[in-house]
């Protein structure tokens, strides 16, 4: 049995420790928001957080998650269910088209803004270049990240 902490909940799974986090989350835990895209960490569709840092779950064994907090797209809204600033910004900018890559995009953007609340264009490019969007919504992703960053800043100033 492997003991996990997923979105703040304690979970146990009986799997080969080499199994990628992606398949444990999707199949064993039945949380399908995290997506399979390439299997070789080249597209970012499977991005989750391990202790707040973005990782490609298709290429990260579940053994590496022991003793760490896994956060998936299902776990980034506020406790009361309010969407996160990033999620709200994504709706406002009407980012998703097919939407398949967006869980990964949002997880990468969330991690970026946690690290750099006001990222430059270069920082956005560096943090997001690992996430492919085949519908080509990169322009809107940039807009949404800047908008979420603005909201974060505004929220801080209010506080």
């Amino acid at each position: 049995m492997i003991k996990l902490n997923v979105n703040g909940q304690a979970r146990e799974v009986d799997v080969d420790p080499a199994t990628p986090i992606l398949w444990v989350v999707r199949e064993n835990l039945e949380m399908t928001g995290t997506k399979f895209g390439c299997g070789i960490a080249m597209c970012g569709a499977c991005t989750v957080h391990l202790d707040g840092k973005p990782v490609r779950s298709c290429s990260t064994p579940i053994s590496r998650a022991e003793g760490k907090a896994i956060t998936t797209i299902e776990g980034i809204a506020e406790d009361d269910g309010t969407l996160s600033k990033v999620q709200q910004a994504w709706i406002e900018a009407q980012v998703p088209q097919c939407g398949y890559c967006q869980s990964g995009q949002i997880m990468s953007a969330t991690a970026l803004l946690q690290k750099d609340p006001n990222p430059s264009d270069e920082q956005i490019d560096a943090a997001m270049a690992g996430n492919v969007c085949r519908c080509g919504m990169y322009g809107r992703i940039r807009t949404a990240i800047k908008s979420a960053a603005g909201n974060t800043q505004a929220a801080k100033e209010e506080a």
Partner: protein, 735 residues
């Protein structure tokens, strides 16, 4: 307004533009009742017609006959219906029409499309590339050809909404005993002002369902639109930011196992022998199947299946295409083109005397262009979940062609179509790939062999190497200019023509003499529709050559296009707007260049100007200006998003896209060798829309793609003086 008896209506089958609702709802046998158990949920809910339902709580559900693959069709179709129906947009739900033939009947299909609206033949191909009849095609409920809004929306959903509104009004008029003309509707409320009566749509839902169907409900004029033409937020987006949107790959079926597959690398070969001695012993592995054309491993989990599959050694039979290399592909095209020369081949267009005028031309321009095979690379790899038991097959997936899939799976399993059901989900990208049924047929065969439900997922490697590719092609041109520098002769011969038939044609350009021909060069690979289909190759050929002609004629590329479009004000407006947006003609820094391209396709008109920076180690597209006229943009933000999307899809192909063949098999396997454009390479994109003809809508999903590649390579020429005659750009050195 006259009323038709139900049978008479069907018998006549002539209601122009209004057939969608009425035809289905009242055809003999009354399939409306048949549909009730499929569509109605909850108490007091009544089916008014097949495309909209209203429940007693005033909830309105728009039932949309197309798949949602990111193009926003679900939401925009509902927007069109809701506007005509005067429905409270906030209370509108969307349901995809079930994949049943009763839904999109052939009678309806014929009335729906003929004779004024051309249906792109992209709608027709089956997995084998065979073509179906028009009526069958409509039966397939296909999403493709940039057709949903201009076809189903304009002719179906709007009429359905208007009809539903009239039926609600008629029901209220009857109950209140007042003239229908005195009843007004707004936000799902019926009001009779002078008597002070008012009611919600929900209150009259049941009564409305018993009303006679209006023959030709009155649709709104443009100035009456309340939702159409507005950038309404899409209804599917909230579920796409929190992980709850359901894609085919997310299907959960009781007792389901997972399958990984590997097909014979060369199409046409079969799996002769497999050594699965290691795979058999691996944890979680349940079954190893040699299916003839592919090997499948079924396991408790997908990763277990995929890992075991990787250990299997397979030997394959000889296949016809096994000696083909990429160089041979273009050599074959060259040979075929050499053979037909300047006047042979299958003639597509022959107007005037292209050969004679070329012979006498003061100036002659010739060029040859080549484009490679391309894969679709949808973000969601191909997958399908299937269950086959007790003479039935159930499928869960995302498809552009639900009814075609049912038909093909039924055929493959030897079942009656009625015993195959399909639950469609959101598509994680379509781009034409999900219009074919090769994938669900495989899943169904596996599920039949196992006897339990199986979710088959292709690896990205399989997705890349076993696609139905955008064909590669070569095109040759000869053009003649008269002594005044006027383009008078156009002679083109190209390999391959799939669809749309007009893709190689240039009727929008005023050129007196045309000869346009094709030669077929068969290839063993499987081909399929790819975003914008033949326009993706032909537009690059044509717009590159137009640019070359401009250079030879000593004209600015914009000026030449203006001359050629002088008789087409709508086209000229789009071209001029794109030029104006880009400040065409203004100076650019050294090593930078600007290129323009103009392409009408799928009923829409698009011009783009690309700016490139050639000072680095590889071409960098910094800016794309796009002007599009789709007739009338039902959701302007949605149309802009489609243009942005098509620009990226086209730019990815122009910069990197190449599927190559060695020993008959595809060489690329994943995103490391089939590269995608990423955010750090994303140009700034500016889109302007012109509503040029609100009566005749064009498509939005595809028309933004064709002009992109030529605009970019024309810009590369402007910056470097080097003419690109083979894509992708990554093949060329600009150092």
């Amino acid at each position: 307004m006259g009323k038709w008896s139900r049978r008479a209506f069907i018998g006549a089958g002539v209601v122009a533009g209004g057939a969608l609702v009425v035809g289905i709802a009242v055809r003999p046998g009354n399939p409306t009742d048949e549909l009730k158990p499929l569509l109605a949920k909850g108490d007091g809910e009544e089916l008014i017609n097949a495309w909209v339902k209203v429940d007693a709580n005033n909830k309105v559900t728009a039932i949309v006959p197309h798949a949602e693959m990111g193009q926003g069709a679900h939401s925009v179709l509902a927007q069109m219906l809701a506007d005509e129906m005067d429905v409270d947009w906030e209370a509108v739900d969307i349901l995809e029409a079930p994949a049943i033939p009763a839904y999109v009947g052939a009678d309806l299909g014929r009335e729906f499309i003929a004779p004024t609206l051309e249906v792109p033949k992209v709608l027709e191909p089956t997995v084998q590339g065979a073509f179906l009849s028009l009526a069958n095609m409509m039966d397939l409920q296909i999403t493709g050809g940039s057709f949903s809004i201009r076809g189903s929306g304009q002719r179906g959903m709007r009429t359905a909404g208007a009809a539903a509104r009239e039926m609600l009004v008629a029901a209220a008029a009857e109950k209140w005993n007042v003239p229908a003309a005195e009843i007004t509707t707004s936000n799902s409320i019926l009001t009779h002002k002078s008597s002070g009566k008012s009611a919600t749509y929900g209150e009259f839902a049941a009564a409305a369902a018993t009303q006679d169907l209006p023959v030709k409900p009155r649709r709104k004029k443009v100035e009456e639109f309340t939702l159409m033409g507005k950038p309404m937020p899409r209804k599917d987006i909230p579920s796409k930011v929190n992980g709850t949107a359901g894609f085919g790959i997310d299907a959960q079926v009781e007792g389901m196992k997972y399958a990984a597959v590997k097909a014979a690398p060369v199409v046409g070969a079969t799996v002769e022998k497999i050594d699965a001695s290691k795979a058999k012993t691996m944890p979680g592995v349940l079954q190893i199947l040699n299916m003839g054309d592919f090997v499948a491993v079924v396991a408790d989990g997908y990763w277990q299946a995929q890992k075991a599959l990787g250990t299997i050694e397979a030997t394959y039979s000889e296949a016809e295409g096994q000696n083909l290399d990429q160089g041979d592909v273009f050599a074959r095209y060259a040979k075929a083109l050499d053979e037909v020369g300047s006047d042979g081949g299958d003639v597509e267009t022959d107007e005037g005397d292209a050969i004679g005028t070329f012979a006498e031309a003061s100036k002659k321009v010739t060029a040859e262009y080549k484009v490679p095979f391309l894969a679709h690379a949808t973000m969601e790899p191909m997958n399908c979940t299937a269950s086959v038991k007790d003479g039935r097959c159930d499928l869960w997936m995302g498809t552009q062609s639900p009814l075609g899939t049912r038909r093909d799976v039924a055929k493959a399993l030897g079942l009656d179509e009625d015993n195959v059901s399909l639950q469609n989900a959101y598509l994680g990208g379509g781009f034409g790939r999900r219009a074919s049924s090769d994938v669900p047929v495989m899943a169904a065969r596996i599920a039949k062999a196992t006897g339990y439900p199986v979710k088959m997922i292709w690896s990205r490697e399989e997705d890349t190497a076993q696609d139905l590719y955008r064909p590669s092609a070569t095109s040759r041109f000869e053009a003649g200019l008269d002594d005044k520098g006027k383009l008078v002769s156009w002679n083109n011969v190209h390999t391959h023509l799939f669809d749309p038939q007009e893709a190689p044609q240039v009727p929008h350009y005023a050129i007196a003499n045309h000869l346009i021909r094709k030669v077929d060069v068969p290839m063993h690979l499987r081909f399929g529709p790819w975003r914008s289909v033949d326009h993706s190759q032909q537009a690059w050929f044509i717009e590159s050559f137009i640019d070359e002609i401009a250079v030879e004629a000593g004209k600015d590329p914009l000026e030449l296009r203006r001359e050629l479009l002088a008789r087409s004000p709508r086209h000229l407006a789009v071209l001029n707007k794109a030029a104006e947006m880009s400040n065409w003609g203004s100076a650019m820094p050294r090593g930078h260049g600007r290129g323009i391209a103009f392409v009408p396709s799928f009923g829409s008109v698009v011009a783009q100007v690309a700016e490139v920076d050639m000072t680095g180690t590889k071409p960098r597209v910094t800016k794309v200006y796009c002007c599009a006229d789709v007739g009338f943009a039902m959701n302007p933000d949605g149309v802009a998003a489609q243009m942005e999307s098509a620009i990226v899809y086209g730019l990815t192909a122009a910069l990197y896209g190449e599927i190559s063949i060695k020993d008959g098999a595809v060489q690329q396997s994943n995103f490391h060798d089939y590269e995608m454009l990423r955010i750090n390479e994303m140009p700034d994109v500016e889109v302007t829309l012109i509503n040029g003809d609100h009566e005749r809508l064009g498509g939005a999903g595809e028309p933004g793609l064709p002009p992109l590649a030529p605009a970019v390579t024309n810009a590369v020429f402007a910056a470097t003086g080097k003419r690109v005659r083979e894509l992708p750009l990554s093949k060329h050195s600009f150092a």
